[in-house]
Symmetry: C2
Subunit: 214 residues, 2 copies
Amino acid sequence: MRARSDVLDHAILGLLHGSPMHGYELRKQLNLVLGSFRALSYGSLYPALRQLAERGLIVGSDAVVEDRPVASKRARIVYQLTAAGKELLGEVLGSAGPSAWDDEEFDVRFAFFAQTDAETRLRILEGRRTRLTERLELVRQSFARGRERMDEYTSELQRHGLEQVEHEVAWLDRLIDTERAGRPARTPGTGSSVGTDPTAGPHRGAATAKPKKE
Amino acid sequence: MRARSDVLDHAILGLLHGSPMHGYELRKQLNLVLGSFRALSYGSLYPALRQLAERGLIVGSDAVVEDRPVASKRARIVYQLTAAGKELLGEVLGSAGPSAWDDEEFDVRFAFFAQTDAETRLRILEGRRTRLTERLELVRQSFARGRERMDEYTSELQRHGLEQVEHEVAWLDRLIDTERAGRPARTPGTGSSVGTDPTAGPHRGAATAKPKKE
DNA sequence: TGCTGATGTATCACCTCGATACATCGAGTT
DNA sequence: AACTCGATGTATCGAGGTGATACATCAGCA
């Protein structure tokens, strides 16, 4: 079961669209872009790269160092998107379905907002906001219910978690306002989307919703 | 390698000190106490319970339902702390070492602050604050370095992550002030610690520091 | 020359998760 | 009383992720 979360795939595809890269560099960029807090180990990255290559979404150059042809254990393998990879990336970036408001996936989608068209950006932000609001409501309820049974520290911890989410909602509101205002100081109309097919629509089934932490 | 994170163990021990419980109830309490956001699956819980029982830290009652002796598939197994379990819990709650400022472990330790003596509480809060401040500094640096190369959305995401951590630092500051003020409205001197041995000291080696998300 | 640390690819053991199976119980509903 | 349905309960499995580590090259530097 448990499908390999597409998050990593999408992040790799997105970065590779920027420019071809090898694993090590990819990891650095990933950790930079995806929040600076996350870890991401090679144990996930390299298998993911090989699997993406198998699926024909990316291709890796032969291992060359500069002059020496092979042999070297440190030979870099530079990956780049194939046509199929670009197409998939385009579909992903064009979609604004529920999967895009998941915690992790949202971060990735947001990181590539510059390659996403304005309408999709707005839909993702609003969807994310709704998702968080719903979660907030649930937590508030269970908090209210179990409040008496908790000591002051436990409830303080709850309260803080709530605050963190509220803080994110406020952040989203700011962004949504900015987007609605038409985003001045940027070429407004022609936000060059990446993909070939702007249709796409919400890919994949319902979101999996895996709240992890504050 | 990769030791089973003690976090879950400590949480179980702490909850069981409150009152004996069976798995299902434990999970509910755990999800309530530990942030309401986390998931915690049975796939982690039941193995952890068995392992704790093997280590002699908890004991499970024989499966009984009320009258029917066994057989029933839904027979509850109520676990409770052994003497060894109480001792370990005492050591854990008495320690304020680096492991206690890890993201997850901190939450657990905080959740059981009511059973922790005042001095240890303060040391944990301060340690956590230092930890976050250090992380903040690191992220700020890498942010400043890579700033030019990121588009506005990526840097906005970074900024937001930074804000979330700053928010937590502010929260800690509030708590530290309160603790320093001596915590009125509570029996001040005699915070009844749980363990048998108030010595304890920072157990286990250096912290593993696994920043996960905002 | 030898040391150290960053750059690189790769794998392993263990952990954790989501899903699921199976079974019982209480409370309504008809 | 028989029926359904959702909460209560214990338990396991496959798949994916993680930290650690191995191995190897390279640049700088004393």
